[in-house]
Symmetry: C2
DNA sequence: CGGTACCTTGAGGTTACTCAAATCCAGTGG
DNA sequence: CCACTGGATTTGAGTAACCTCAAGGTACCG
């Protein structure tokens, strides 16, 4: 299908400063001119990391708070049994490492899915700013609670939804987050492989693959390897919406 | 089995102040004498809540931070589809409402599973204390991150483990938390019904029931309705430990 | 051009779900 | 104290969804 208009390669993502979470947050949440200036001063562009290189390992102490500038990153933990558990993906403009703020150590590891660049604020500076600025404090609390909410949502997804729904939600999430950073929301490249997707969604590779194929047969999406084209967002939304196994025992509420 | 020593009813749980999270935290985390005194002053014992009564509803603004003094509470959210999603249980001495600190509104609802009593600190006072005391601040951040960690763990449980393992983990968690509050860790009463357990674990009532029955047949536990007796903690631990579906596709790490 | 890793597809098995019925239990009223 | 009743729990039989194992295809890289 659509051989006249095949999926075209989408370039490596690079976030403009205006699209970065630091930027957006700080300017949206009415920090003072002074606070902004300082934040910008502290921001360091770090050496690019290569594909499969780690940004940090689980258990390491938190050295800096990081924004993905380009590329993408997966966060994962290793269970007692030694299994890798993918807990999330970070796209350009998103902040990584906040969940370590409280304890001071990273609960999990982060690995680049492709060659990536980041901006960082050394932890010391960041903490100092936190102490000086109640505003920034509340900004961070908010970010944390947002991440908490996302984890909660994932909880809902992973445990209770059928494969079709999980995959639909995943695609929509990616689409939404890419759109936020000035990307085409209907055509994008998944930077993670099927294994990571499967792991993240609590499915097997085969099930993810079959589900994507099925969606393609039904003309909801077009898939070619990592390239995804959303053809019928309407139906994708439907499939994402209704997945809860048709009424588990719901209580009175 | 064990008809000579049947499960005996366990009395209504009441936490001594020494077992309460507020108490423990504040005194463990070296707050100043002054700070402690103030915290105690602010603590209010609230009117008891009856079984099935709500402590608060989702979306309501956070009015106070609450410790369960006696009884137990379930936290749940309502999904878009109108299904109830049980996100956790709170036992005597545990703090409820922290996850609303950031946004100021409760993300979900809380309902008493039995007649219960609570202690509360009005939000205003609590926030004032937070501003005055960097120590308390970090204590709270820690609690939050702890809750985050718990949610993450639940994430792991709910999506990826088989029924047997989920139930085993649930029983052990209950046991551990009860033991912390001076209860017999091997003999206790579940205050929630099978539906809540099933919902919490992402299973159906029938599966929970069957699993408990199977564990009983194998002499790992003894169950009679809500009463649980752990007979073989060793094996229960084993069953909790190995559940991950025997090696999902693990990546290189 | 061959090799390797990734992805897709197929066949069969297992787990947990669904539907249905029996049993247990707590609370109520006689 | 006991029968009654409605809800909770257990148990059983059949089914659907997803996993496992296995083979074949595809793309990328040297």
């Amino acid at each position: 299908m659509a051989d006249d208009q095949p999926l075209r390669e989408v370039g490596h993502l690079e976030t403009r400063c205006e699209d970065c979470s630091f930027y957006t947050l700080c300017f949206a949440q009415d920090l003072s001119e002074e606070e902004r200036k300082q934040l910008n001063l502290l921001l360091r562009r770090r050496q690019p990391v290569e594909r499969n290189e780690h940004l940090f390992h689980g258990g390491q102490s938190l050295k800096s708070v990081t924004v993905i500038r380009s590329g993408s990153v997966k966060a994962y933990q290793v269970s007692q049994e030694g299994d890798e558990i993918v807990s999330g993906f970070y796209l350009p403009g998103e902040i990584i490492g906040l969940d370590a703020l409280a304890s001071g150590a990273h609960p999990g590891s982060a690995m680049a899915l492709e060659d990536s660049r980041t901006c960082e604020i050394p932890l010391k500076d960041f903490v100092r700013m936190l102490q000086d600025s109640p505003r920034l404090n509340s900004v961070i609390l908010n970010l944390l609670s947002e991440e908490m909410a996302e984890t909660r949502e994932l909880l809902l997804i992973v445990g209770r939804l059928d494969a079709r729904t999980r995959v639909a939600l995943f695609l929509l999430s990616m689409s939404r987050r890419l759109a936020r950073r000035s990307q085409d929301p209907d055509q994008f490249r998944l930077t993670m492989d099927r294994r990571d997707i499967a792991n993240y969604l609590g499915l097997t590779i085969e099930t993810v693959s079959r589900t994507l194929s099925a969606m393609q047969r039904e003309n909801v999406i077009e898939v070619r390897g990592k390239l995804v084209h959303i053809l019928d967002r309407e139906r994708l939304n439907e499939q994402a919406g209704q997945g809860i196994r048709e009424e588990r025992q719901r209580a009175a509420g």
